[in-house]
Amino acid sequence: MTNFLRWLRWMVTAFTLALGPSIGHAQIVRDSGLSPFAKDYKVDFAIPDAPAFKLLQVDESAILRPQTVRDLTLAVDGFRGNNNAFVVPKQFGIEVSPGLLIGAAQLKLSDYNAKKFLYATRFSGATGRDSLNRGQIAAGVRFSLVDEEDMRSKGANGTDTAVTRLTERMRDIYVTARLRTRPPAPFVLTEDEKNALNALADSIKGYWADHYWNARSVEFAFAGRALTTDTLGHNPKMDEIAGWITYANGLRGWGQFLFGAKVGSARESTGSFHASNTLAARLYIGSNALKTFVEGQEASSSTTQAKWLVNSGVEIKIPGVGWINASAGYASAVNGGEPRVISSFKFKTGVPGT
């Protein structure tokens, strides 16, 4: 267990410091035309909390936001120390799609689509410290049941003039190249033409990100968390298990509504387990790169979570780097007493790329 904790922290730190910022636009450079590989067509949607990261109680929101799969994502939280000063983060999370990560270099787009459920299955691990400075470790798995199925209703069915104009510019480049050589001989693109095609393909991906960030999706996930007696992971003791299901759908181009449930069991201060079930709803307003949200949730029969919570925040894309989430709100005290202010600040990045 100690070795696992050390390995996980090393991996997260190494990726965050070394690979996270080394990001640029994916360049599709092939001898002719665009790449057949799935890795070249990732759309930069926001990065949600992984199930394991969520169980570290990085915030008090219980909803697990669904999102399109990425090969590997990293999240860090717990930037605040005493007197609200910024400190080395206390919590690290990692989520990986083994299928995407292992075969990413050679995975064809057609193969990815044929086994999408498999590739969209993600495993997560997280480690951190709680308010009593005890070590926390968590592991989880997430599945996508529905992802972006409503794109037909958003102009993808051939009626979107903006995307059509971009394809016309790509077509004109191909036709110009073709007119230099009569078929059946293959035509050859110049470097300038390849660069122009890649730029236009990136424009289409950016357009998709702006228009489909709020597409309909349904996900479910499971995770478990253990507490350890120290930060080295000694004497792990199961502390909470949970399952989530979340439904998300778009509100035209400007919003997204999420409705989710969390069911599970958590250890009380007395040492015994008790049901910990929560219903939550969240509304995002904005665009892919910048959006605000408001949410509310209510826990039933839980002695480890706030009875109710209202929260709001922002999600900002830092091009080429990652995503920042910041939120603040009010929550009831877990064991009675006055409501209290809650806040959260998270940084997430995908590896490689944004």
């Binding site: 665009l34 399109t68 990815y112 794109m151």
Partner: protein, 122 residues
């Protein structure tokens, strides 16, 4: 390569491009001269309106013998939907003479589909 054997005395040769299910895209059909690096005519279009993607080649038909039809189609198929079949069909008097077709996977931000049909007289 698909070959369309047309009737010189028949009706006009029709060439059509389609994307099924329809997605955002555009195309140019190029009619190449027989055995020469020369373009006879180009037919550009897009899939905003699928009712205008069929063209009649100029008559008389006999002059099309040995010519080559090439359709360069660029389609953008977002992730999360199914693949689309992009095809070029050559027909005459309501009968399909030849077809070339390719499937494009979802998540393709502007994939080129290059289709060919050679024209020969019966």
């Amino acid at each position: 390569m698909a070959v369309a054997r047309f009737e010189p005395a028949g009706g006009p040769i029709e060439v059509a491009v389609s994307c099924d299910p329809n997605r955002n895209g555009s195309y140019t059909i190029i009619l190449w001269e027989a055995n020469a690096n020369e373009v006879v005519k180009k037919y550009p279009g897009n899939f905003l309106n699928t009712a205008d993607d069929e063209y009649s080649l100029d008559t008389p038909n006999a002059k099309h013998k040995g010519r080559l039809l090439e359709a360069m189609v660029v389609v953008a198929i977002p992730p999360g939907v199914g693949p689309s079949d992009v095809s070029m069909t050559v027909s005459q008097d309501g009968a399909e003479l030849a077809r070339d077709e390719r499937s494009v996977a979802p998540g393709s931000p502007g994939a080129l589909v290059d289709l060919f049909v050679e024209l020969e007289s019966q």
